[in-house]
Symmetry: C2
Subunit: 153 residues, 2 copies
């Protein structure tokens, strides 16, 4: 299994934790070298705090653990292309590389809406790779919204 | 005094708190109707957590206070044009209007770099107004970095 698939599966495990609390199933892990240093899953519905996306939680945990606002050399694995808030946070934290699963065509800020990761106006550019375990990551979210719609009929 | 100036002065007071802890002096307040419901100041250096911008702290406080991830009808007053992370958070929180002081030409995401507030791919657009108490807000940041450079000589 490739490195990318291995860590994406860890991010998918986080997404499943979000599903368990009935939140949109999105997960993230932060990797330094060959080790996961922080994990996070989406908790926006559960917490009713707008900023509690998987990436934000993982970045904050990693900063606290490493006692640094700069996560130089770190990678982040996310099941979905990050939104503007999360792409901005990834760049602000000087993360080196972002790997994501499904594309978010309307609002993703790796490449779909704005190229925030690679061109953010900071003296820092984040490398990225999209589409890793894409079908699994996309199906999780699609199934969540299909179930929500069925409940609301 | 205009409504905008009045609330911007409250945001400037927050920026001064950041300066007191030797952090980049940026402040924010969130207003509902005619009342400040949450305040925040930049704590990235002090906390060593990359996401601790003034806006993020204020938004999280407001969500917790109002027990809602959607701050419908709210305004945010910020001393500096928001970065991608903060502009994304403002849009994610469905804030109605953002008023800022100084422009951030390189990375601001009201209009300078990307129009995240008004065109974010969500079904929500944030109105904005820049340049309120611009000179005061810009001078705070300029003086901070001038002092930092002098210390490092």
């Amino acid at each position: 299994m490739t490195r990318e698939k291995r860590f994406m599966r860890a991010a998918i495990k986080e997404a499943l934790k979000a599903r368990e609390i009935d939140d949109v199933p999105i997960g993230a892990v932060i990797v330094m070298g060959d080790k996961i240093v922080a994990r996070g899953y989406n908790r926006t519905e559960n917490s009713q705090v707008a900023t509690r996306h998987a990436e934000m939680i993982a970045i904050e945990k990693a900063c606290k653990k490493l006692k640094s606002r700069r996560l130089d050399g770190a990678e982040i694995y996310i099941t979905l292309e990050p939104c503007a808030m999360c792409a901005g946070a990834i760049a602000n934290a000087r993360i080196k590389r972002a790997v994501f699963g499904a594309y978010e065509k309307k609002s993703g800020c790796a490449e779909s809406k704005y190229p925030v990761l690679s061109d953010n106006g900071l003296n820092h550019s984040v490398d990225y790779l999209g589409g890793v375990e894409e079908q699994t990551c996309a199906a999780l979210i699609k199934d969540y919204f299909r179930k929500k719609r069925a409940e609301n009929v």
